[in-house]
């Protein structure tokens, strides 16, 4: 009887089957994995937060009357928040005056919005300094200061950036570079919108806010 030249003994046949099964499983695994990855990957891209959505009104600071406050103290109102410093002669007064105009334009609904000025220069902008400063712009303007750490935390939560820059031509030899945005936050502290003072006249922003209230 002629022997089949490449007849595989039963043991190797079993081994070969196992190897093929393993290879198949591996391939299938890879296929399933990449499939899931693609599906879930795309899914997670959809829910991944953009920079703006991550902005939250969260802080532990001291207001200009000397009272310690957190965002919870304003949870009954919308918040209009601006970061600046009192040694800033141009952008900060411009923006705070703008916010004051917006508050006035809200009329009776002004009580539903807390206009907040947070200093990025707590070293110089102490409670009495903040008190005098905010009183100039609007009786309802709230000034917040605190320790360097507290201010840094607040800035991080608002995803706003600031930096101390040494400059001989500046008062006390330094000024603060800071973002010029006005943040509109919902009572629960969630981000609603961001504006720049120069982006729209106060009437437009007031109208925007009235529609959201």
């Amino acid at each position: 009887m002629p022997t089949e030249p490449h007849e595989t003994p039963p043991k190797s046949q079993l081994l070969r089957s196992i190897l093929w099964a393993a290879a198949f499983t591996a391939l299938a695994g890879v296929a399933i994995y990449s499939g899931l990855e693609m599906y879930l990957g795309n899914g997670s891209k959809n829910v991944r937060y953009s920079g703006e959505a991550a902005i939250r009104s969260e802080f532990s600071l001291t207001d200009h009357t000397g009272q310690d406050v957190t965002q919870a103290d304003y949870s009954d109102r919308w918040q209009m928040v601006f970061f600046g410093f009192t040694n800033c002669p141009d952008i900060c007064p411009t923006t705070l005056a703008y916010m004051a105009s917006v508050i006035d334009l809200l009329g009776d609904d002004a009580v539903k919005v807390a206009p907040i000025f947070i200093t990025v220069d707590p070293e110089r902008d102490t409670v009495p300094v903040m008190a005098e400063y905010v009183s100039v712009f609007h009786p309802r303007l709230i000034g917040l200061t605190g320790t360097e750490v507290q201010v840094a935390e607040a800035a991080t939560n608002f995803r706003t950036w600031y930096e101390r820059t040494e400059d001989d031509s500046a008062p006390d030899g330094y000024f603060m570079a800071h973002g010029g945005y006005v943040y509109l936050m919902r009572p629960d502290g969630a981000f609603e919108a961001v504006y720049q003072e120069g982006g729209q006249p106060p009437e437009v922003l007031a109208q925007d806010i009235l529609e959201k209230l």
Partner: protein, 142 residues
């Protein structure tokens, strides 16, 4: 109330004929904080604003404001403000401003701020600008 007529100018004829208009200042907040002043300049020949003095402030600098792509603004000192011939250069809120530091007293709304401007051409001009509110956005128009 100081009317706009207080914007008096005594241009002294010099090498360059520099016209200054629409000058105004913001009242300062807290005697220790800097004040800002703004104006419009126009020179009939290439010139530069190289110095500003005022009796009420120890130090006056021209500052520019740059806002980068992330919305972060920073000030930068402008040593010599270029005035190209025939070009109108305006200092206004959000852009360039005169920063007055080491004020001898708070700059009060309703008063007048005297400034002496010195130019590279040798021109020297004295002006008085009205001091408006701390949040004023522009010169008062008649």
């Amino acid at each position: 109330m100081i009317p706009l007529a207080a914007l008096t100018m005594w241009p002294m004829t010099a090498q360059a004929d520099v016209t200054i208009s629409d000058g105004w200042a913001r009242a300062s907040i807290l005697a220790s904080r800097p004040a800002a002043a703004y104006l419009t300049l126009r020179s009939d020949e290439d010139d530069q604003l190289i110095g500003i003095t005022t009796p009420i402030a120890g130090h006056v600098t021209v500052h520019g404001v740059e806002t980068d792509a992330n919305g972060v603004s920073r000030m930068s000192a402008i040593e010599a403000l270029k005035l190209p011939s025939g070009e109108t250069v305006t200092l206004a809120p959000g852009g360039m401003h005169l920063m007055l530091m080491a004020l001898t007293e708070k700059l009060e709304e309703g008063t007048v701020l005297p400034l002496t401007l010195t130019f590279a051409s040798g021109a020297k001009i004295e002006i008085s600008v009205p001091v408006l509110g701390p949040g004023a956005s522009g010169p008062e128009k008649e």
